[in-house]
């Protein structure tokens, strides 16, 4: 079974600075998907960024980018120019590629605080 580990329960960053959230995972599969979800206090789950394991290029979405290291099974999220609205719980998630097993396996989350 796959597992996802987020080793930082809490992180803080100053507004306009850059912060990196860590995620490692364990799998025996060679192809899969990885995601970062954001959960603000409203509790809505919002997809931030996604990465297909077969793609070597790191995904980027505006101020959000990932550092995907397949061999190391690492998938960190970098938030540049942090804004107050980035304050939220961030979850790393894994999804298998094949079959009908489309479930997301989540890490335990990192609570990000943005200081003005």
């Amino acid at each position: 079974a796959q597992t996802v580990t987020q080793s930082q329960p809490e992180m803080s960053v100053q507004e306009a600075e850059t912060v990196t959230l860590s995620c490692t995972y364990d799998t025996s599969e060679s192809d899969y998907y990885l995601f970062w979800y954001k959960q603000p206090p409203s509790r809505q789950m919002i997809l931030v960024i996604r990465q297909e394991a077969y793609k070597q290029q790191n995904a980027t979405e505006n101020r959000f980018s990932v550092n995907f290291q397949k061999a190391a099974k690492s998938f960190s999220l970098k938030i540049s120019d942090s804004q107050l609205g980035d304050a939220a719980m961030y979850f790393c998630a894994y999804r298998s590629l094949g079959g009908s097993n489309y479930k997301l396996t989540f890490g335990k989350g990192t609570l990000l605080t943005v200081n003005p």
């Binding site: 789950m45 997809l47 097993n101 489309y102 479930k103 997301l104 989350g109």
Partner: protein
């Protein structure tokens, strides 16, 4: 228009009661899910349905019974509620036909409190 909706958003009930949470998606997706988020914010899959057929049942007590009357709906019925059932329950949907990397769209969550 809301993509994935859940009702109710809050549910407070007594131990031993039976309750239902409804989920509807208007995205045309064929796969729907229920996730449970516990008090420590940990999210875990409970069930997955594809075209009204149960695909995943992650060792959930049989007091929990999902029902999918059609592809757009996946309801969750819980019998004999226990204190440990208190959590936020999220419904989600996705479509494998929408591309290789199909995003799961989440509902707003239902906060269940069992007293």
């Amino acid at each position: 228009d809301t993509a994935v909706s859940q009702t109710p958003k809050y549910l407070v009930t007594q131990m031993g009661n039976d309750k239902s949470i409804k989920c509807e998606q208007n995205l045309g997706h064929d796969t729907m899910y229920w996730y449970k988020q516990d008090s420590k914010k940990f999210l875990k899959i409970m069930f997955s349905y594809n075209n009204k057929e149960l695909i995943i049942n992650e060792t959930v007590p049989n007091r929990f019974s999902p029902k999918s009357p059609d592809k757009a709906h996946l309801n969750l019925h819980i019998n004999s509620l226990e204190l440990g059932d208190s959590a936020v329950y999220f419904c989600a949907s996705s479509s494998p036909l929408s591309g290789r990397v199909n995003e799961q769209f989440f509902g707003p969550g239902t906060r269940l409190t069992v007293l």
